[in-house]
């Protein structure tokens, strides 16, 4: 099995208000098609780790490999491109651009990537929406759909560029159990049918127990 994401000796310090060693020598890999979850108490550094892995946070020590290529230390322009092409994101709060329609929201990362024509992107976006059973919402304004639906739109948006890995920061944290199950089932299906890697930070033990692998964190370290 090939490795999609690999972290080597990741260290991070918060410098404000006092020097604080948040992440201590983190090493781990995510394989292709693997559905991994990161568990841990509040403040153990799991979200911090996720944002380092997502390339949005660049203030750390250590090496990060995406598809076996070193991406630590690249310029922000290149990191944006990597994020756009290879990483899909789902947040706790379903961040959509409220002034755009659902379809436009889903198409946005693909338009930014600019590898396909408008028609192809639109077709792909409709496919993703259909896969998540929300194609009837396509023309609706993003501010006018329910929370569970928004989260599914966010997943569709994360999938639009066929990324190597999907990352989630408590994607079910703000959903009722029905919608949370729904989102989990979507993730599970993506992992099994599309052979997609997933790395999900969660508090929800039920959610974590159903994943392939649980990465347990405590005090900035991974417990094995």
């Amino acid at each position: 099995m090939t490795t999609v994401l690999e972290a080597k000796h990741i260290n991070k310090y918060f410098k404000n208000p006092v020097l604080f060693h948040v992440l201590k020598d983190i090493n781990f890999q995510v394989k292709k098609g693997e559905f991994a979850s990161i568990m841990g108490k509040s403040g153990c550094g799991k979200s911090t780790l996720l944002y380092i892995l997502s390339t949005m946070d660049t203030d750390y020590e250590g090496e990060l490999y995406l598809d076996n290529k070193l991406i630590s230390g690249s310029d922000s322009e290149h990191l944006s491109y990597m994020r756009n092409k290879h990483i899909g994101f789902v947040f706790q709060f379903h961040y959509l651009l409220s002034e755009f329609t659902i379809l436009e929201n889903v198409m946005l990362p693909a338009k930014k990537l600019g590898e396909k024509s408008y028609q192809e992107i639109e077709h792909d976006a409709m496919e993703k929406l259909k896969m998540l059973n929300i194609e009837h919402l396509a023309k609706k304004q993003a501010s006018r759909v329910s929370g569970g639906e928004k989260q599914r739109v966010a997943i569709a948006r994360a999938l639009i560029n066929n990324p190597s890995i999907i990352m989630g920061d408590e994607p079910t944290g703000n959903l009722d159990s029905h919608n949370a199950d729904n989102v989990f089932n979507i993730f599970k299906r993506l992992s099994e049918e599309e052979d997609l890697s997933l790395l999900i930070v969660t508090h929800d033990e039920d959610f974590a127990n159903k994943t392939d692998r649980i990465i347990q964190m405590e005090d900035g370290k991974i417990l094995l």
Binding site: S80, F89, Y95, E99, L108, P109, K112, D169
Partner: protein, 420 residues
């Protein structure tokens, strides 16, 4: 790799969903540019009119014989007294003739110069206008009427009658309007004039002259150069003044200096003679630009404010855009293009409004005794003002958009998404 389609479409959506704020920001620019165009067209129109009032009639170089004392008194030429301290009391002006010696050859010489558009002879003299027993002092200038019309716009100042009539009628006069009023004369009447050295000559009035300067109109009249020479009893090479018009006004000063040296005459260039007009023009331009720039700066702050607010409102959007792969530069471009769109739309509207207002002002009646040739407010519409105005709109919105968009570029998405 900048994908303008997507950046512009996001900018457009932001602007359209906040259409009220967008409109207010754009209106700020519109008023700024509109008032700049109106002000500058109106002010330069007035400037041109005021300058023309004086400068059109004024020769670029005026050549005449100055009555003045000799610069060097004979005693200083005497070698034996060179080492002494000489004091001469009560120096009187040198006795010299009013006539320009060899006037006609000098004119021929000047007209050969490439910079010279024309050189016209004049005969100036003091005369009395006779009305019964009353004698009014005045000036009579002998001119070549048609050439004066061509080079010095005499035609603009002829109220009734024409320069052709003055040229073609023997013993005719173009009478100052002030004199005509005092003596209750009309075109076709005869007026008697008397030169200082005696004699009375009846001249036929072929028109009235109104310069707009009342003091001048009360004394000044014009006649054909030959008529004046005849009144004075002088030959037809008697010339007291030469007025030179150049193609390029900037060459007046060097040429005037050259003429003074070469012919030992007094030659005054237009800038020396009318320095105060230049100053007035400069100050009016300064005021115009100061007011316009103030307006545009105010408009710029409006845009700055609105974009700043927009960026605070859009923090979440900015974080998402960055998370899904938009670089800081892309985000900056989104907000920059919003500023530039506001500047462009506001600027173009401003140009249209400025043009409309200027055109409107140009139709408003403006009648004044002082300026006979003007009947509506003078407006000077020039493409360069529109280019400057538009560039300024783009520049000020660029600056107003740059700072907020720089901030948007630097927003850390992690902080926003984690709610820090």
């Amino acid at each position: 790799m900048v994908n303008w389609n997507i950046i512009l479409s996001i900018a457009k959506t932001h602007l359209l969903t906040k259409i009220k704020q967008t409109a207010i920001a754009a209106l700020g620019v519109t008023f700024g540019i509109g008032s700049y165009i109106t002000l500058v067209c109106f002010m330069t129109g007035l400037n041109t009119m005021l300058d023309d009032l004086v400068l059109n009639q004024t020769p670029h170089i005026h050549i005449y014989n100055e009555i003045e004392p000799s610069e060097e008194q004979p005693i200083s030429l005497y070698d034996n007294l060179k080492e002494s301290f000489n004091v001469v009391h009560s120096i009187k002006p040198k006795l010299s003739q009013k006539k320009i010696h060899d006037g006609l050859p000098i004119i021929t010489f000047l007209e050969k110069d490439e910079a010279v558009r024309g050189a016209l002879p004049q005969v100036k003299t003091q005369i009395f206008y006779m009305a019964g027993s009353i004698e009014l002092a005045g000036n009579l200038t002998g001119i070549n009427p048609l050439s004066e019309v061509e080079l010095f716009n005499l035609g603009d100042y002829i109220l009734e009658g024409s320069a052709e009539a003055l040229q073609n009628t023997d013993n005719s006069i173009l009478l100052g309007i002030g004199i005509a009023k005092k003596m209750a004369l009309k075109v076709g009447d005869r007026v008697q004039v008397s030169p200082i050295n005696g004699g009375i000559f009846p001249l036929k009035i072929v028109g009235f002259y109104q310069s707009g300067i009342a003091d001048l109109d009360a004394v000044q009249s014009f006649s054909n150069i030959k008529t004046v020479q005849r009144i004075l009893g002088e030959a037809n090479n008697y010339i007291t003044d030469i007025n030179v018009k150049l193609y390029d006004i900037e060459k007046a000063l060097p040429l005037a200096q050259k003429i003074e040296q070469q012919f030992d005459l007094k030659a005054i260039d237009i800038k020396t003679a009318n320095a105060q007009f230049e100053t007035g023009t400069d100050i009016r331009n300064l005021i115009t630009y100061a007011v316009s720039i103030t307006l545009l700066i105010v408009a710029g702050f409006g845009i700055y404010n609105i974009l700043n607010m927009l960026i605070y409102e859009k923090m979440n959007d900015i974080a998402i855009l960055k998370a899904i792969g938009f670089s800081g530069k892309d985000v900056q471009l989104i907000f920059m293009s919003q500023a530039m769109i506001i500047g462009f739309v506001g600027g173009v509207l401003g140009l249209l409004i400025g043009y409309g207002l200027s055109s409107l002002i140009a139709t408003v009646p403006f009648e004044t005794e002082a300026i006979p040739t003007v009947d509506t407010y003078p407006i000077n519409i020039q493409p360069s003002f529109f280019i400057i105005g538009f560039s300024f709109a783009m520049l000020s919105t660029f600056l107003a958009g740059y700072l907020p968009s720089k901030k948007a570029k630097k927003i850390d998405p992690v902080k926003i998404i984690r709610g820090l």
